[in-house]
Symmetry: C2
Subunit: 135 residues, 2 copies
Amino acid sequence: MNPEGHQLKTVWEGDETVSMFTPEPYHTAIPGYVYGGLIASLLDCHGTGGAAAAMLRREGRDIGEGEAPRFVTASLQVDFLKPTPLGPELEVRGRIVEITDRKVVLDETLSAEGVVTAKGRVVAVRMPEAMVEGS
Amino acid sequence: MNPEGHQLKTVWEGDETVSMFTPEPYHTAIPGYVYGGLIASLLDCHGTGGAAAAMLRREGRDIGEGEAPRFVTASLQVDFLKPTPLGPELEVRGRIVEITDRKVVLDETLSAEGVVTAKGRVVAVRMPEAMVEGS
C-alpha cells in the first residue's frame, strides 16, 4: 500500500474511498503530462488500499482501527480517457462493486482539477499466506 | 517510451517484441516481490514501444530506422498470475493482435526466470497532435 513511497493514504467519503497524490516533475514521458505508468500505479495502489478499507468497514471497523487485512492485485484495467496534466494534485476515487471474504472489486476514477482523465477496475484478493513474511 | 528512466529498449524476436528490465530494490511493496505498479508500467511502456515497432515494420522499416511514430496508451489490462520475485531480470514479450493506421493492440507476457508471472493487453493509439510539443 506504499509502493515506491507514494504514501497513498485512503479515506472514506460516504461510500467512496479517496486518495490524493501530487506527481513529481519526473513522473512524465511526454512533457506536460503524467506518464501512464504512474496512473496505473496509483489505481493499483488505491485498489488494494480501498479493498482493505472495505473489508474493515464490513467488519464494522474504520481505517486505522486495528490491523488491516492485506490485499494484492489480481487484475487491473485502466482506460486512459484523456491526457492527465502534470502539476495539479490528482484525486483517485474508488467505489466497491463486489466484496466477498477473499475478494474485493473496485471501480475507480482518477481526476485532475475536477476532470476525470482515467478510469480503472481493480480485482483485489487477500494476500496469500506464503507472501506474508515472518507470519 | 522512456518513463522514469526505465530506458526500456525493444527488439524483435521473430514476430514478438522483447524488452528486458532489472528492477531495483525499491521496486517493492511486499518484501521479496516486485510491486504491481512497476509491472503495469513495464507492460504500458513496452506496449507503446511495441506499437511503434509494429508500425515501422508495417512500413518496411526496422526499429531505429528513421523517426518512429509515437503512441499513447488508450487502455491497459494486467492480470497478475503469480508473485514476481524481486531480483532476476524481467522479460516482457509482446505479440501484435491488431494493427490499423492509428491503433495497435498487443498481448503481452512478463516473466522472471522463464516463468510467466503477469499477462497484459495494451491498446495503443497514435499520439494526438495536441500532445506533441513543438510540432
